[in-house]
Symmetry: C2
Subunit: 319 residues, 2 copies
């Protein structure tokens, strides 16, 4: 009999298919297509990495599915909920870097983890604009908020706050983008198990759905199902906006910040790099190109400066 984790793996694999199909449709018939790179993990399981490069819309896009299992390193296992060393993790992870600086980069990830007797879901989606349009950030957040509300209306603000805390570039004192949702250990205590909170953890009333695996899974499916609805309308709205070298240059400098976040802070990236994960699938999240110029900063009052201020404000976009 299939376990809920088996069902989640099947769902994530189908979601990968649907998202890739939607992105290829956005590319158009003359556009680029995903190439698939299936891989096996020595310790158990495997995945299928899909990447698209130099597209009409997407400069670099990666949509990974994986379903891996085996034995954890004891030191690592002891820091996780659950007993023993056996684990299984299945999920989908995507990062889309469009060519046009007016289209935001987006990241999403949904996963199901088993470790010993513990089982949980994690994931989220967040948006990183290079030029901030309120209507885009609002559309993204409102779509996610509505999806949450169909399950438990308290979840959006909990996971929006968590996202703002997590995707924060501490050494720059600025968020990576306008956020979205982030959650982990959903089903076994969520925020209380996370090191992102610690002493500043808000007192959260667990959602009724957190005690019911089927309802947790339905919530995660809802978020997966709305991903394209949250993102593609923004792509359609901005894809024909013309841009100059100067705007492209700003985008590539902001992509340097994306690299800084992913290599310095992102737990999944660092964990993967340090524990022998599949490097190319992990670093698929990095942009095709990033620039660093000493003391680079936008002109005061410019659209770039307004974007940076808008990002740093961490507004309640779904209001």
């Amino acid at each position: 009999m299939a376990s809920l984790t088996d069902d989640a793996a099947t769902y994530f694999m189908g979601l990968q298919d649907r998202i890739c199909a939607g992105l290829e449709t956005a590319e158009g018939k003359d556009g680029s297509r995903f190439i698939e790179d299936p891989w096996q993990r020595t310790g158990g399981g495997g995945g299928r990495t899909r990447v698209m490069a130099n597209g009409r819309v997407f400069e670099k896009a990666g949509v990974n599915f994986s379903d891996v299992h085996g034995e954890l390193d004891p030191a690592f296992a002891s820091g996780m909920p659950g007993n023993g060393l056996h684990f299984r993790a299945t999920g989908i992870s995507l990062v889309l870097h469009p060519k046009n600086p007016y289209i935001p980069t987006v990241h999403a990830n949904f996963r199901r983890v088993e470790h010993g007797d513990a089982r949980w879901f994690g994931g989220g989606a967040d948006l990183t604009p290079y030029y901030l349009f309120d209507e885009d950030a609002q559309h993204f957040h409102r779509t996610l908020k509505s999806a949450c509300a169909r399950h438990d209306s308290a979840l959006y603000s909990r996971f929006k706050t968590w996202c703002d805390r997590y995707f924060f570039i501490k050494h720059r004192n600025e968020p990576r983008g306008v956020g979205g949702l982030f959650f982990d250990y959903f089903g076994i205590g969520a925020e209380s198990k996370s090191k992102d909170f610690g002493a500043t953890s808000p007192l959260v009333t667990p959602s009724a759905i957190e005690s019911d695996e089927a309802r947790q899974f339905a919530f995660v499916r809802e978020l997966g199902d709305v991903f394209l609805d949250a993102y593609l309308p923004i792509v359609e709205r901005r894809r024909n906006t013309s841009f100059s070298e100067q705007q492209r240059n700003w985008q590539l400098h902001r992509r340097g910040r994306y690299v800084e976040f992913n290599l310095v802070y992102d737990r999944g990236t660092i964990f993967g790099l340090k524990t022998g994960g599949r490097i190319e699938s992990i670093l698929m999240s990095l942009p095709a190109c990033a620039l660093w110029t000493y003391d680079h900063a936008p002109e005061p009052g410019s659209p770039e400066a307004q974007t940076l201020k808008g990002i740093c404000d961490e507004r309640d976009w779904a209001e």
Copy 2:
């Protein structure tokens, strides 16, 4: 009366002047010039950051001097040799990224640290070629080996080995470049105090000069003084080699590896980012531009593949 650390600070500041002058000479009279950005540290001390961009030879070059002091975070202080919280650190740190892919990137750093009753020197220099020419790696290593030999002929192989271990990109299973020298805690036990060694620490007979501060300082000055001799002849030999877009593209992908090393492994970078160091001076080490392409690898048998193999061989270049 000036302490040895005061003398070291004076030496490092003069070395910054001499190195910047030598690099400006290499740029030529139509070339770029360093701009200086002096800064003060809130907790004590300061520095002068010097950067050059878009030069004829150097796409991005940074040569920093700093002399900072104050109180360490107790958690950090307890992990360092020496007692109490008071520290002073002065040094020079440079990273030079040439435009021409035939000229290697080079990094060097020399520093004097005081923490409570402990005092030591650290530093080194290492070379990162994009196209490997044996004569260039040999010249760099032989210059450093000769400099070491004027003080203690055992030091070169100790610090060459340490450099190969330190500048290693574990997740790629490849060295950052062809290495050079790396040392730390020189004067108080060198390798035995370093986490780079640990259980695999070689049994090293301490050098006679390690018990004599004046001789330690003379050794560090020797390395500082030969830096331009180790590097500039390579620049002169390669600066007029023409290159194509394909070669530039390979260089920019290798610069992605440089970013990966600096943000994921470099202790100075990570420490600086996580403890409120001056961000622009720390990240000055990043290249102007870096590329990441999924599963990027050189053609078998190509000069790029030969370079990668040559780097991974970790040869004894000074033989």
